[in-house]
């Protein structure tokens, strides 16, 4: 790396020094567990009993385990929250990027779910979904349904119910990132488009969104990873067996159950490893096909 003068070199050295604590934490709490954790996938490690090397046995078991298959299906299905979450977040960010009255209040209000504990939020949503809960009350008042729906127990609705919680909890977080992105876009571009006669939606569609693409990629990637790894809301709302009848079980919940209820930490590590490969594959595809956009694209 070549720096033109002494000041720049000193600034760079200072910057690297500031990175050291973060890197140390990353090494200790991320890379070390990864390295120590990988061999577990090839053992029958149970914490308390003697550990044996079992080779590919855990992997063979995973491929023939119907519950893992179901959990994986639900985890991949969960990715449908990503476009919904991102679209809502972008629209909210565009909304609160305007010079409206009380805009600060709205920004804070939309961010409140982000700082709420997921456990507390999930418990509150359980009440919302109850047979005598507020959702049934409104749906019946609006004559959308004639009798209460037990959202938590209907196998076709239970997972959707959890997805809604994820969207509600995450939209404020992504809204803030998109808001930062919107504020980094030079206003001259949008103004020039307006002078050329583009209406508001054309400006959003042809100027704002393309310039926001690097943020969309970042948020989508984080969101996909979060969706495939979803745990808290499923665990709190539907327990470690993904009630009812495994209809909400995801890979993270299943690996928790395998590890902490069945004490099969080796198999749980195998599940984690397989899911990690899937996340890697999806990440590579996303990088490959969504790298267009941003300011440099138009230089």
């Amino acid at each position: 790396m070549v720096f033109s003068n002494k000041l720049l070199r000193r600034e760079a050295a200072f910057a690297y020094m500031m990175l050291i604590p973060g890197i140390v934490l990353l090494l200790v709490f991320t890379f070390y567990p990864v390295i120590r954790g990988l061999p577990l996938a090839f053992t029958d490690y149970s914490v308390i009993d003697t550990t044996h090397w079992v080779g590919w046995k855990n992997f063979k078991r995973a491929f023939s385990d119907p519950t893992f298959g179901l959990a994986l299906k639900h985890s991949l299905l969960y990715v449908v929250v990503v476009p919904v979450l991102q679209i809502i977040s972008i629209l909210m960010a565009i909304l609160v990027n305007n010079k409206l009255r009380f805009v600060s209040f709205f920004r804070i209000a939309y961010f409140v779910p982000v700082v709420t504990s997921m456990v507390a939020a999930a418990i509150a949503w359980k009440w919302v979904y109850e047979e005598q809960g507020i959702l049934n009350y409104f749906l019946m008042k609006l004559h959308i349904i004639s009798e209460p729906v037990v959202f938590m127990v209907e196998t076709k609705l239970a997972l959707v119910g959890v997805m809604i919680v994820t969207v509600w909890k995450g939209m404020g977080y992504y809204m803030m990132i998109y808001l930062a992105g919107l504020q980094s876009i030079p206003s001259e571009m949008q103004e020039a488009a307006r002078i050329d006669g583009a209406n508001r939606w054309r400006v959003i569609w042809h100027i704002t969104i393309p310039l926001l693409m690097p943020f969309v990629l970042l948020c989508s990637l984080m969101s996909v990873m979060g969706a495939i790894q979803v745990f808290d809301e499923v665990f709190v709302m539907h327990g470690q067996l993904g009630d009812p009848a495994y209809s909400t079980i995801t890979t993270s919940v299943y690996s928790y159950k395998v590890a902490f209820a069945d004490f099969e930490f080796g198999y749980a590590a195998t599940i984690g490893l397989l899911v990690s490969f899937i996340i890697m594959a999806i990440s590579i595809l996303m990088f490959r096909y969504t790298r267009k956009g941003g300011l440099t694209y138009y230089e």
Partner: protein
């Protein structure tokens, strides 16, 4: 973004993804795996004393872990600990109370970290799981006859695996029939005639639903235990064959399915915990509470009006005539460094005196013969809590905890839980539920037996 930066970013993302899914911990561990018989302090005590003071170790510190007893019972537990320490100079007890959900993982972590507690409070399910992993001391080998003799035999044998028993039974609760007098009257039912059988319970619930729109009761499902107490053998004497698909089982399953289909019980009962029923009862939304008597005190605190309108009666009996006792135990992990002292503490905390004192401050039942015979359990006042104490004490003669008595019991019984929900939701018939659950449980039992 240049290609190099993209590749670096990608690798970082992938590494993070892997890390999030990789378990951490020791890759090899035999700590705590040694059998009780090979433990240095595993030799059975020849003394009849329940105290370790015969061969005192100097300055022994015992770690004592309980489930959800603090802060409500701080005075009681600390008082008993003080008494034990006074009787056993040189022994110090450090008490830690943990939430129910945290106990198993915390215990595993501490055993793995070589810092196992000495006496731990576990329910029978958790006890059997850990016993199957050779993580607990066999009381039949290491406790004295005198220590073992104080408990009811059927409760002591709840933690039996083969010829070994891995726990001292502590306290347990039994369900009583708790009901709202007002709602009974509004439904046109006689509050002085509570149901005596499960069929009567159903009929009354149907009437309550029709007349008041409220639910009669919320069943608390435990399919394996419910089947057992309905007269289903569950497993053969030699522990090799699952026996689930019987006419008694079909009758019980169909009975439950009808309740669910006919909307006599709330659909939410499928995944409801004990709090759900108590919350609904104290809110006046259901007419009866068929769970542990200990929940009455919560109704008293939260909804005095409902409590004052509450009557109590014995639980309607199931076909076996027995009642399910959800037992709490005290165990000693094999990884404990002080087996003799730990067994003495476990025995002290569960002895007649300790249990009777505990029962006098909370609505539970003792597992020792002498404590259960105390006149305290036959003297009732006028309030529901006091009456329910006598009722459940009378039920205690038929109390039993349910266990298959085999390794990996939780795993073997899992099909019964998983398929139960499918069956109630109409994804399988009651007949298929029993045949498929039996076949799946048999396969798992065969695997466990084959693994030894």
């Amino acid at each position: 973004m240049t290609r190099k930066i993209r590749v670096s970013a990608l690798l970082t993302v992938c590494a993070l993804a892997v890390s999030l899914f990789s378990a951490c911990g020791k890759s090899n561990n035999d700590g705590g795996a040694s059998s009780a018989s090979t433990s240095p302090s595993a030799s059975p005590s020849t003394s009849a004393s329940a105290s370790p003071s015969d061969a005192p170790k100097k300055d022994v510190t015992l770690q004592f872990w309980t489930i959800s007893l603090s802060p409500n019972f701080d005075d009681y537990i600390n008082g008993r600990i003080k008494k034990f320490e006074e009787a056993n100079p040189g022994v110090t007890v450090k008490w830690t109370d943990l939430p129910y959900d945290a106990m198993e993982s915390k215990l595993l972590a501490s055993i793995a970290g070589g810092n196992a507690p000495d006496v731990v409070n576990l329910n029978t399910g958790m006890t059997m799981t850990l016993a199957g992993k050779n993580a607990l001391v066999d009381m039949n080998k290491e406790a004295t006859d005198e220590q073992r003799s104080i408990y009811f035999e059927n409760l002591y044998n709840s933690a039996k695996l083969g010829d070994s028993v891995y726990a001292f039974p502590w306290y347990y609760g039994l369900s009583a029939f708790i009901y709202n007098k007002d709602l009974y009257e509004k439904a046109g039912l006689d509050p002085n005639s509570p149901p005596k059988t499960m069929e009567e319970l159903k009929q009354q619930a149907v009437t309550i639903k029709e007349k008041t729109g409220k639910y009669g009761f919320v069943p608390s499902y435990n399919p394996p235990a419910d089947l057992y107490f309905s007269g289903v053998p569950m497993i053969s004497d030699d522990k090799k064959k699952m026996i689930i698909n019987t006419p008694e089982a079909l009758e019980w399953v169909k009975w439950n399915k009808a309740l669910f289909d006919e909307k006599v019980v709330p659909k939410e009962a499928l995944s409801a915990d004990a709090n759900y029923a108590t919350d609904k009862y104290q809110g006046g939304q259901i007419a009866t509470l068929t769970t542990g008597a200990q929940f009455l005190s919560r109704v008293k605190t939260n909804a005095k009006k409902v409590y004052d309108n509450t009557l109590v009666a014995p639980m309607p009996t199931m076909k076996s005539g027995k009642y399910h006792a959800g037992l709490m135990n005290l165990v000693v992990p094999t990884a404990s460094k002080n087996h003799t002292e730990a067994i003495a503490l476990a025995n002290f905390m569960t002895n007649d005196e300790s249990q009777l004192e505990f029962c006098k401050i909370v609505n539970i039942l003792p597992s020792t013969k002498k404590a259960a015979a105390d006149p305290f359990f036959t003297q009732a006042g006028d309030d529901p809590e006091s009456k329910v104490k006598v009722i459940v004490a009378q039920e205690a003669a038929q109390a039993q905890d349910f266990t298959l008595g085999v390794k990996d019991e939780g795993k073997i019984l899992e099909p019964l839980w998983k398929n139960w929900q499918k069956m109630l939701l109409g994804q399988m018939t009651p007949e298929d539920y029993l045949s498929q659950s039996e076949a799946q449980a048999q396969k798992l039992l065969d695997e466990v037996n084959a693994a030894g």
